[in-house]
Symmetry: C2
Subunit: 286 residues, 2 copies
Amino acid sequence: LDDRELLQRVMEVVGKDCCLDDCAVIPAGDRYLVASTDMLHRKTDFPERMTEWQIGWTSVAVTLSDIAAMGARPCFVLLAIGLDDTSSIIPLLKGAKECCDTYGAELAGGDLDHHDELTMVSSGVGEVSRAHLVRRRGAVPGDLVCVTGIPGRAQAALEGYSEFDRFLLEPRPRVREGRILGESGATSMMDLSDGLALSLYDLSLAGDSGFALESGKIPAIPGIPRDKSLELALFGGGDYELLFTGGCDLFPVKGVEATPIGHVTSDNEITLDGSVLPRRGYQHHW
Amino acid sequence: LDDRELLQRVMEVVGKDCCLDDCAVIPAGDRYLVASTDMLHRKTDFPERMTEWQIGWTSVAVTLSDIAAMGARPCFVLLAIGLDDTSSIIPLLKGAKECCDTYGAELAGGDLDHHDELTMVSSGVGEVSRAHLVRRRGAVPGDLVCVTGIPGRAQAALEGYSEFDRFLLEPRPRVREGRILGESGATSMMDLSDGLALSLYDLSLAGDSGFALESGKIPAIPGIPRDKSLELALFGGGDYELLFTGGCDLFPVKGVEATPIGHVTSDNEITLDGSVLPRRGYQHHW
């Protein structure tokens, strides 16, 4: 079973609604709370050269990225840590706290346990007005599909292009951009943590729509051959860029560095230059 | 380092305020949100005979117990699961969902990962009016100190008194009682998951007060010799009863089965029948 097949079984118990977005959505007066939890392990989720400080930072960043993908403002983060070595607690917490501070979230509490393998679980809560919530569903045929930044740089670092290390080791969630996109009327959104191809398939599943991409529009990674750059963007993991859709009148979005890479279709297919895009990328296998 | 020594180091980074209560407290308009996260592992936290359904139930129950200990109403729970066997996902989720349903919380979302050892992390958010929040600090010398139910039954089950299995295997968090106690004016509160003795030391640390207990007042576990029963209540883990303080006018609290076991003092000592109570009980060692 891969992650997405397992998710099908989960949906049978807990309902489809709570599985299709980057965050759970909970009504709270005239606003929504959004909430996400992410479990990460040393061997499978953190590159070997990542420091403890960077592991703390990244654990919070992935959760803030989920909150950003809903158009929401992060409020607070809880951190449950299964420590394999008590000496790592201080740098882990310092990295986590600095990431919270950078994006205006409070590191509000947590739990400590011990474990053979370092396990980090960050849970975050954000808030957003009802009008500005953005889900994975909502794209309309004819909308543009866009990405922030330059996808593929984290994977490039993983494959030895060390000039992109900071994208892999200290990912910057697009918190500011997510809120602006929500306020500007983006029609659907998610973050890119599993690569562009898989994320497009997720967005297609949630929104019952397709996408026609043009390879020439996908931002090139500077200093990497074009074919390789495209491969990294489509199938590489570890980016925390935002993937979103919106009407043509959305562009350019003031304050958001983003690139239209194709458009939304009504036929549930995902194509690149007219050919079906392979459904592969970063995912765990069971 | 034991849990509490480690906590001292954590407080140096994240601040003392976020470590002394069962939940983090976040202002939200005229109310507070309270939030807690708990990490549990198969080998250290779940008895071998616990079923997958019961593991799911218990993982949620511990978090709802933390929310109850603040006097708050549970709103939603997120569940991050590190699965050691994909076939266990359905019973785990069914147990978790039934516990949520029983106490009026929404199982709003989660994350799945795989792991050598089953790892469950439940994170819960509750809400409470500003007037009814109860913290670990707040006890006043002269207040009564009380417990709900009969502490020690989970430990009794662990030691072979199988008639108490349900307290160990399907703990019932005191959600209704916690809210009533908040609304009735309890001055401080926490849950009893680590045993009565350690919990009293935690409550003393947070509230800068002491406690004088009378052994004759601690509820006896039916069918267990008195000395053994007292040992189980004071030093056994796995209960999810509430420990709280309040003025004499608080009693009896309508709708809450609770027993005064002593009173609050101003001298920071914890005594049982006049002798210092050993600071031991259920805790992990590093």
